[in-house]
Amino acid sequence: MLSLDDAGQLLRRSAFFRSTSASAIRALSDHSQLVRLSAGELLFKKGDPGSAMYFIVDGCVQVHHAEMVVILLERGEVFGEVAALSSETRTASVSARTDTVLMKLERDAIYATLASHPDAVRSMIEALCHRESEVIGEKLGRMIQARVLEHELEIGQKIQRNFLPATIPAMPGWQLDGMLQPARKVAGDFYDFFMVPELQCMGIVIGDVCDKGVGAALFMTLFRSLIRSGALFGGRTERSAGDDELECTLLHALRSTNRYIASTHRGSSMFASVFFGLIVPPTGLVRYINAGHEAPWIGQGSGVRTQLSTTGPVVGLFEEAEYEVGSAEVRPGEWLFAYTDGATDAQNEAGEAFSEDLLRCTVVRGAAKDAPVLETVRQTLAGFIGKADQFDDITMISARRDLH
């Protein structure tokens, strides 16, 4: 059993009561109670009202908010002063980490002691100010850290722009367009346009790496690069004459990308839905692979004529995946439009989704006008979303064939 003298000695050792006179210390310990906690026991919860301050006689407590531990306190330390000395509620939860013995000082007793012992007041104010300056210091440290991270993300964003076409290539007889609106600083969506000179055709790609943020962005660069590289370099020399070159190029690009990521990055289970098409400009022929992606539309003034459904699974998960190559045609005056689910899943402030139907109407309506389709869709989406958060990356591409 702790004697009052011992309790007093312990109190004196803490920062709060260091410069307090012996008689003040005695007055405090006279009014104190011992509280025992077993390991794991909760003393009070964040937000609870409180009127007692605690001094740790023996043991260890954790100051926490749910599962997040802020700090561990041990013998000789004081806590709970904010709720005890003011009308504030408990600033955090406190639980015993080990079996613990606490000295409990109630508000009335503290204030009565302070009233008759001015030296104790000074000591307490010193300790409270010291705590406050520590908290401010920590907050500043965190703000600086946050700013550094923000800066890193901005760098990442700039670099990621290099993985999107800097300019949309010109294609005689066609208007090509693409846009990507990331939900965060960096995006998991991508799109691409590139000429395949040996085949005299234009590759168009749109993709959506699962999830969003930094992880998706890192894989975005990998998917985009492997597909482009696979299409431009390799595969063609191994083929015999008579093979469909467009088909072989598409299959080689997607198969090699899929096999590489499914095996090399097996442990991360990352995947992307991808639409990859090769357009022959003079004829409007499109050969394509749709790997688990939202079906692009081909349409004209009165509506969507056909959609290019999936021809294989998403890319990056299943090494043995087989892909088929589809075939379509963009006739003179028609357009091809592709999007990621960020557009159809976009929510307004009421929590309603934009929906595929509304996107289709918007695209058809926009294509009938003289202005670029994507800009019309972007504006309509922006109006719909309003002040709500943009939940997912929004990406769209269009390839529009001149009438003559």
Partner: protein, 117 residues
Amino acid sequence: MSNELRIAVSEEKGNTPVTIMYVSGDLDSKTYGDLETKASDLIAAGAKNILLDLHEVHFMGSAGLRAMHAMSVKLKDAGGQLKLLNPSDPVARVLKTLGFDRFFDIHATRDAALKSF
């Protein structure tokens, strides 16, 4: 808004022992961790074959699909398998569009599923 994910487990001690995980709620970016953690615990405790009952899953996002793939990789490495049971309509649709139905064994009834292990 995501519903909580609830997971119940039962052990089937047939010719091939199978652990059945009954999952209900939404399998999204907030809840997929619960599924992964529970599966890891079961695998650490010796489970080799797991059957995921998806009938009461209302929503399956990419996070859920990734978690399922990760589980199947772990089980395959341990010489076992992950199979799927009776997915709800929305989940069945996602599995089909993304091509999961060709690479995961999906069964309509518990008995058929258990016999297939």
